[in-house]
Symmetry: C2
Subunit: 184 residues, 2 copies
């Protein structure tokens, strides 16, 4: 009566994540995942409810990693320096996981909301409060996140089509946005 487990949810999620970044979301098939983890397609349904459930698990995995990367970056004690480091860590993470990153802020059909990492939100709000005071902390944090998310997403999508130094645009934007929210 063997028939013991040939794979695991973690292995399936890891395979899905790799295939997602390699071939794009549309080309992520249950068959490819099954082949990668060494099992037949129907066996995947013992661990994941459906293909969209697999996406949800992948996004959770990615969100957890982003949380950890941002927590590790924000540790200098100086809120302005920490906000810069946070933005840099976020950008690095998005560059390393360009496709998974776009899924982070997309409405999840399953949950109704998005997978924006909760812990990241709390860290960011704390830093912005230290930098700009409590009065307008929430709108200020939303301004920083909107700029960073927009810049990084557009950069990865190749949406900055005019020539010009994109690093300079990043530094310019970060400087001016952080400066702006301090003057509340």
């Amino acid at each position: 009566m063997p028939a013991h487990a040939q794979t695991s949810t973690a292995a399936i999620v890891a395979a899905g994540r790799r295939l997602l970044e390699e071939h794009g979301a549309d080309a992520l098939t249950m068959r490819d995942v099954a082949d990668t983890v060494g099992v037949r397609t129907p066996s995947l349904y013992k661990r994941v409810r459906s293909r969209s459930d697999l996406f949800r698990l992948i996004v959770e995995d990615v969100a957890g990693e982003l949380n950890a990367a941002i927590d590790a970056a924000a540790n200098s004690g100086d809120p302005a320096a920490d906000l810069r480091a946070t933005a840099r860590a976020y950008r690095s993470f998005a560059r390393a996981n360009p496709i998974a990153h776009t899924l982070l802020f997309v409405p999840q059909a399953a949950t109704g909301g998005t997978a924006l990492p909760e812990r990241t939100t709390a860290t960011l709000l704390r830093l912005v409060t230290e930098l700009a005071g409590p009065h307008n902390a929430l709108p200020a944090a939303r301004t920083v996140v909107a700029w960073a998310y927009g810049f990084i997403t557009m950069e990865l999508a190749g949406a900055f089509q005019l020539t010009g130094d994109i690093e300079q645009a990043w530094d310019f934007g970060l400087d001016h946005v952080l400066n702006a929210i301090q003057q509340t």
Copy 2:
């Protein structure tokens, strides 16, 4: 020898756009488009090369409309007022076309780049140059677009999960971003 045209590329694109907003990108099937325009599925391939080609045509259509909406909004002569009106028009358009809007800045498999409306880029760069001077016009324009795109995309995705007035966050962000790029 009738067998004359029962549909048109424009009708197919319009039907595709409507179904896209109604049911989402994944649920947009060639069969549904064919049913909507009153033809059998294979006939679509007389006008459209493929499903991804249909997406490209839809995005072009949407981009053209956004161009027109933004050009119509930016006509006061005052660059600061025009930038505000542009941002407002962009946000209204995105709210009216939430799914199509997300496709605007996504890498198009076919073209390699994105469908960011060219004319909008030119209008925006002109306004920012008038407001902030030519020195840092490009990075300043990229800061404004990144913030607006990020804010609108996150808002539509439901990514602003904490309670708090989102209108206030929009006004706060627009005020501070525009103010920041003036101080160059």
